[in-house]
Symmetry: C2
Subunit: 248 residues, 2 copies
DNA sequence: CACGCAGAGAATGTATCCAAAATATGCGGT
DNA sequence: ACCGCATATTTTGGATACATTCTCTGCGTG
C-alpha cells in the first residue's frame, strides 16, 4: 500500500485506466520477458496500487491477446512468433487498405494538399539527411489519414489503432535504415496518388503493398531484439505518457 | 449474497467468465434497453454474484464497445444506429473476404467436397420447403470455413468471430424470408466456386458481395425490432448455453 | 533410486468494506 | 414562486480480507 488511500488521480484518469495503459505499454515495449509469470501482487506493488486494478487490466489485456493464461494460474506475455507478427501485419494491411478506399470517396482537396505537404517535408528530410524529420512527417501523414477515417468509422479506426499497437511489440520505434525511409516516402506518394485518383481498388492495393513493405523492413528485428529488461521501478509520472505513436 | 460462498462453479468456468458471457449474450440479444443505466449492484443481484465479476465484465464489454460510460456514472448499452450496423458489416466483409482469399490457397479437395455437400443439403431444404434445414446447413457451411481459417490465423479468426457477435445485436436469429434463403445459397455457391478456382481476388470479391447481401437482408430489422424485454429473472443453468451461432 | 502422496505455501477468485463523487432533494432566501 | 446552496442518498472506485485451488517440496515407501 505505497499510495495513500485518498488521492486525486494524477491528472484525471482513474487508477484502473492508468494501470491498464501502463501495463499495456510495458508489454508492448517488451519490458516483461515472455512466458514469465505475471503475479498480480508484484505488479500491484510495482505500480503502487492494489490488486484490483491490476487484475482488471490483466483480464482486459487477455481479451486483446496481449497476455494469456499460463496453465491454470496467472498470466504471462506470450512468446513472440513470426506467425503472429505476420498475421498482425496482414490484418492491418487489409483494414487500412479498406479504410483508404473508403476515404478516397470523400476526401477533400484541402486534405490532399495537407498530405502532400507532409510528403514534401519528409523528402526534404531525406535530402538534408535528417532522418528524424522524415520520421516525424511520415507519422503526421498517417495520423492525418486516420484522423479522417476515424470521423466516420469509429470501429474501423479502433481496430486499426489496436493493430498498430500490437505491432509495436514486434517493431523498433525508429525508422530503421535510410533505404527504408526512401521506400516509405515512395509508398506515401503512391497512396496520395491513389487517393487523388479516387480509385478505391487502387487505394486498397497500394496501401496493402505499403504495409507489406513495412513488414519486410520489420522482419529482421524479431530475432535481434530480445525483450528482457530488468523491469525496474518507475515513478507515477511516467504513467501519463501515452504509448509512442507509430512510425514508418 | 444469494449464492453460498463455497460453490464449485456450475461446470468449470469461473464466475467472472460466466458473468461476462452472460452479460454479453444478454446485451447482444437486446435484453437491456439502450441508454438505460446498468447498475452494478442490480446486475449482481440479478445474476446471483457479487459486484466484482460484474464490474470486470462491464469494463471488458466497454473495451469491445458493447457498453459505454453514461456520463460520469455507470454504463449503458449504446443506442443502435444504422451507421454502426453498416460499419460492422463492412468490417466483417473485409475481414472475411480476406480470410477466404487466404483459405483458397491451402484448402484441400476434401474440404471443398464437404462444403459442397452442405450446399446440396441446404438446396434440398429449399426444395422441401424446410427453412430450418437450410439454416442449419448454411451455418455449417460457414462454421466449416472459419474452422479452417482459425487453424492458421487465430487473430483473424477472433476478429471475425467478434464482428459476427456484434452484428447479432442488429440481426434477428432467423434466416428471414424464403427469398433471402435462396439468395444466400447462391452466394455460397459462388464462394465455393471461387475457392475451387483458387482465385484470391475473386474470393474477396465474392465474399464481400455475399456479406453485403446479408446486410441488405438485415437492414429492415433495425426499426422493427425494439430491444426491450422486461429482463426478468433467469436461472444459473442458462449461463451454460453459448451465444447462438450466427446464421445466414 | 524413483515414484507418489501429503502437506504447506503461494497466488488467484470472490466478496465485502470504506471512501469519494455525483446526483437528487429539500430547505431557505430573495 | 423560483433559484441556489447545502445535505443526503446512491453508486461507483479501490482496497482488503477470506476462501479456494494449484503447485512445489519433502518425506516415505516400493
Amino acid at each position: 500500500m505505497a499510495a495513500p488511500t485518498t488521492r486525486k488521480n494524477t491528472g484525471r484518469l482513474s487508477v484502473r485506466e492508468q494501470t491498464y495503459r501502463l501495463l499495456k505499454k510495458k508489454i508492448l515495449n517488451g519490458h516483461f520477458p515472455p512466458e514469465e509469470r505475471l503475479v498480480e501482487e508484484s505488479l500491484a506493488g510495482l505500480l503502487g496500487v492494489s490488486r484490483t486494478p491490476v487484475r482488471e487490466a490483466l483480464h482486459k489485456l487477455e481479451l486483446e491477446g496481449l497476455v494469456r493464461q499460463k496453465g491454470a494460474r496467472g498470466f504471462c506475455v506470450p512468446e513472440k512468433t513470426a506467425e503472429e507478427m505476420s498475421e498482425l501485419f496482414e490484418i492491418r494491411a487489409v483494414l487500412e487498405g479498406y479504410a483508404l478506399s473508403c476515404l478516397c470517396r470523400t476526401i477533400s482537396g484541402d486534405d490532399v494538399r495537407r498530405l502532400s505537404e507532409c510528403i514534401a517535408r519528409a523528402e526534404r528530410g531525406v535530402l538534408e539527411n535528417k532522418l528524424d524529420l522524415v520520421f516525424e512527417n511520415n507519422t503526421e501523414f498517417h495520423d492525418l489519414i486516420y484522423q479522417l477515417v476515424g470521423k466516420k468509422r469509429p470501429r474501423l479506426f479502433n481496430l486499426i489503432e489496436d493493430m498498430r499497437d500490437y505491432i509495436l511489440r514486434y517493431r523498433k520505434n525508429t525508422l530503421g535504415t535510410f533505404r527504408a525511409a526512401k521506400r516509405s516516402i515512395l509508398g506515401h506518394k503512391k497512396i496520395l496518388l491513389a487517393l487523388d485518383l479516387k480509385d478505391p481498388a487502387l487505394c486498397e492495393q497500394v496501401m496493402r503493398a505499403h504495409i507489406s513493405e513495412a513488414e519486410a523492413d520489420t522482419a529482421c528485428t524479431l530475432s535481434a531484439a530480445s525483450s528482457a529488461e530488468p523491469q525496474q521501478t518507475y515513478n507515477r509520472g511516467e504513467q501519463r505518457r501515452a504509448v509512442l505513436p507509430p512510425k514508418w
